[in-house]
Amino acid sequence: MSKPYYDPADLRKFGNITEWSEELGTKFFDYYGKVFEEGALSAREKSLIALAVSHVVQCPYCIDAYTKDGLQRGIAKEEMMEAVHVGAAIKSGATLVHGVQMMNKYEKLSM
């Protein structure tokens, strides 16, 4: 059987990236931890944003991590799916808004 590119167990090893670049790795994890602290946004709101972004950037590790995080926080599956739709809407909107550029170019080139 071929080995998949993504191994769920690799998520546990995320911290190991610090071993090959301690300063940058440590700075990243400090920053990451700080970002998710309670602030102007609640940790719950941040968890849902992270879940939506995880889908948009299609990161399987992040999807696993923030689905579990949501469950732990008591976030309902309906809330999680709505967050994913927000991400999907922005992504499809970002595709479609380029349609204006296509239309502009089309008009410019046409007699």
Partner: protein, 353 residues
């Protein structure tokens, strides 16, 4: 999904504590992926784990229950016949009269199903214990006519009711505890509110116990409590006092679920990653003695289910001696990671900031 029979009735290998303990010491622990609990607590000088002042006596009145919850660490159910006898109850009463503990905590199974439950509560409530808790699964109140007046009975004896409710929505509750459990639980909570529980000025306490319905840990207890309070008030006009968030320990039926759903390794990694030395300081086995239906003494309810009797000359309620027991070493294994993860977990919820 909720199950129909206990592990014991199914004669499952995991119904034998020795098999569970073996499983918890092999695999990722034996192969060095994760540290043994003993080594982990030794790092902070907490091994051997010693008791502090005894505060809570927890009595298991029997493993019989009207529910068969899929996560149950007791492996309780209607098919379990282990019930505390009146003779053992009398021995317990002698201990309760003389104990230094301020809290008496009755659990099961469904403790109300013990035929001598009411007699015992009446007698025990005369002992002047400060906090007298009964852990009620709620649905028992509606299970049979003879239980319908339990709210009034609890009120009469100023019992502090602690009730399980895994979520404030139907789906998750019924998945863990069985079909129809949510609606019955809601009705029972309303009945408790109606007689004065969690109502201002009555002094009648009603706490809820939350435990995750799946292979994940509970997070912030205060946030969960707030979510539960808002949702239960808005949807059902229910009041309660506090929410205890309890971590599911990897034993008995929850261990069976973890293995069957291929979540065991990830769950153990989650527990070990969330290990909090501050929680070790206040872990419940340091202030509790757990007494089984047949009078044996344990460091906690989980050790009771794993058959790990206290490491002391005194092992039975008939020889009970608080001073001797306080000198014991607490018995630990890998399941203990469940009580030291995050803010910690005990029958009274989180134990650390």
């Amino acid at each position: 999904m909720a199950l129909l029979k206990s592990l014991a009735a199914r004669e499952d290998d995991l119904s034998k504590p020795a098999n569970q303990l073996k499983f918890l010491s092999n695999g990722i622990f034996k192969e060095g992926g994760l540290p043994f609990f003993k080594d982990k607590i030794a790092q902070t000088g907490n091994f051997p784990l010693k008791p502090k002042k005894l505060e809570i006596l927890q009595l298991n009145l029997g493993y019989m229950c009207n529910q068969v919850c899929s996560h149950c660490h007791v492996d309780a159910g209607p098919d379990r016949k282990e019930i505390m006898t009146i003779e053992t109850m009398q021995q317990c009463l002698e201990v309760i009269k003389n104990t230094g503990a301020h809290t008496l905590d009755l659990t099961g199974g469904a403790p109300e199903m013990n035929p001598n439950f009411r007699w015992f509560v009446e007698e025990a409530s005369k002992a002047g214990i400060k906090d007298f808790i009964v852990r009620s699964n709620l649905t028992i109140i509606l299970a049979n006519k003879k239980y319908h007046d339990l709210p009034q009975f609890f009120k009469k004896h100023k019992v502090h009711v602690a009730s399980s409710l895994p979520y404030y929505k139907r789906e998750k509750t019924d998945k863990q505890r069985g079909s129809g459990v949510f609606d019955k639980s809601i009705k029972a909570l309303q009945m408790l509110n109606d007689v004065g529980y969690a109502q201002e000025g009555t002094g009648l306490k009603l706490d809820l116990v939350y435990n995750p319905s799946g292979a994940f840990l509970p997070t912030n207890q205060a946030e969960l409590e707030q979510d539960f309070k808002v949702a239960l008030k808005e949807d059902f006009n229910i009041d309660f006092n506090s929410l205890f968030a309890i971590t599911n320990l990897p034993i008995s039926r929850f261990l069976e679920y973890l293995i069957a759903s291929e979540n065991y390794e990830d769950y153990m990694y989650s527990l070990v990653e969330a290990y909090n030395p501050a929680a070790v300081e206040n872990v419940m086995c340091t202030n509790t003695i757990s007494i089984s239906w047949d009078g044996w003494l344990y460091d906690c309810d989980f050790n009771q289910m794993l058959g790990l009797k206290v490491d002391s000359k005194v092992q039975h309620i008939s020889d009970y001696n608080e001073d001797l027991l306080n000198n014991r070493n607490i018995i630990i294994s890998q399941h203990c990671y469940g009580c030291t993860a995050g803010a910690g977990s005990s029958c009274q919820g989180a134990v650390a900031e």
